[in-house]
């Protein structure tokens, strides 16, 4: 069983090397004729104005926060899903309570407008 993790490890190393081959090949084969205009930031032909590392919408952060909370709660469901058949009704009731809390959080967020994209 543990050997299988080693297989994934070898495959992972292979997957790191794999994209490097075409990158190096393209580097060797392709022409290199840089000009200042070619190397400029592309903005539909206009001069780029200002820095890109500026503030962006707070909504992205809200979704990220909501995601972290829900994803961790979902992670708790995984071990349960593999074992609920053996535990029976008790597992069902326990998870029902957990799910009610989870759904409660979702409904609260929904009502508070955290899921609205404005």
């Amino acid at each position: 069983m543990l050997a299988n993790y080693a297989f994934i490890g070898v495959f992972f190393i292979g997957a790191i090397i794999f994209p490097l081959v075409p990158l190096v090949a393209a580097y060797l084969l392709g022409p290199k004729r840089p000009t200042p205009i070619k190397l400029d930031t592309y903005e539909c032909g206009l001069e780029a104005v200002g820095d890109i590392r500026v503030q962006f919408k707070i909504q992205y952060y809200l979704y990220a926060l909501a995601f972290v909370i829900f994803d961790i709660e979902v992670v708790f469901l995984y071990p349960w899903a593999a074992a609920y058949g053996q535990v029976g009704l008790f597992a069902l009731i326990a998870m029902a309570i957990f799910l009610v809390i989870l759904v409660g959080g979702l409904v609260y967020e929904w009502k508070k407008g955290a899921l609205e994209w404005v």
């Binding site: 495959f11 393209a26 799910l99």
Partner: protein
Amino acid sequence: MTWIDLVILVVKCIVLSLAATAVFAYFTLFERRTLARLQNRMGPNRAGPGGLLQPLADAVKLFFKEDVTPLMADRWVYLVSPTFALIPAIIIWATIPVGMWPDGQGGNWLQLAEINVGVLYLLAVMSVGVYGITVAGWASNNKYSMLGGIRASAQVISYELALGLTVLGAVMQAQSFSTAVIVERQAQMWNIVPQFLGFVVFIIAATAEVVRAPFDLVEAEQELVGGYNTEYSSMKFALFFMSEYVKLVAMNAIAVTLFLGGWQFPGLQTLTLFVTQQYGAAVGNAVLGLTSLGAFLLKVLALSFVSVWIRATLPRVRYDQLMNLGWKVLLPLSLINVAITAVLNVLLPDAPTLTAIISLVVGVIILAVTANVGRPGKEKRTVKLVEIGL
């Protein structure tokens, strides 16, 4: 582990990586040809018979293109991110059983690694996939790329919840995290029947997860030029393109594994038994391996056609609609799916047919009601200017 095992392992890894590349190359051709047919045109048919050499020609062209690194870009991050995007797309194939060819020691030639948490591995690798896109958007130092990258991360994390919960449904059906066990448990009935709701939600969430039309806001040409890959050219662009398509096919393969019975098809056991009795175990195993691989590839091809079909049919959604669909429709639906599966499997553990029929009917009803509630004609038609991004 002897050195022969190591050689076999390395060969397996190389074959799997190359297979993924070949699948990518020919999927692009398949998509272009099918899209063309759906739009009543011919598609690429000049290079080789039926356009079969087109992917090769494209690859050669990309090799000889100039590799431009913008002056404003963060050089190292810019260089690393295409690789970063491709690695998860390839290693995700490690635990997918693409067929069943017994190696005589309880293993399977056609599955690289059988680990008991295979589904968790799939989910973990799937989540890592978005980093390449986000980092590429950041490193390019271009407003379009940046927006594309941020959109990608917000979109992918939103749909990951629904995706994880629908995968959970398939796990609950088999009560195991091993992909091999999940496929084996579908010998009698594919998971699509008891998990119909889960399957539909999975397909939608998976389409969004690999940022494909109609959820391709990350690279919406009309708004963001090329999105995160605006500043990429030559092979670096090709690697992004490749990671996207390999991920898409991998998603379809995962859908087949979890919901469509993997490599199983009706009559497989009878066939194998017959051949084994007739010609011996070695031939039996070979026939089992080849037919199961064929069945798996056929199912993946069918789902890939559906992906292309969806792309040809549906227009791109707006960003607020995208987020609403993920959080307010798919997430509740997947929670309902988990609840139905849990209740039915605990209350009626010995009647798989009955539970399957009940959950199929309930799933269809829920989907019909959801579709009806969200029908475009029903919402108030107020025109609201939607501020996009930044």
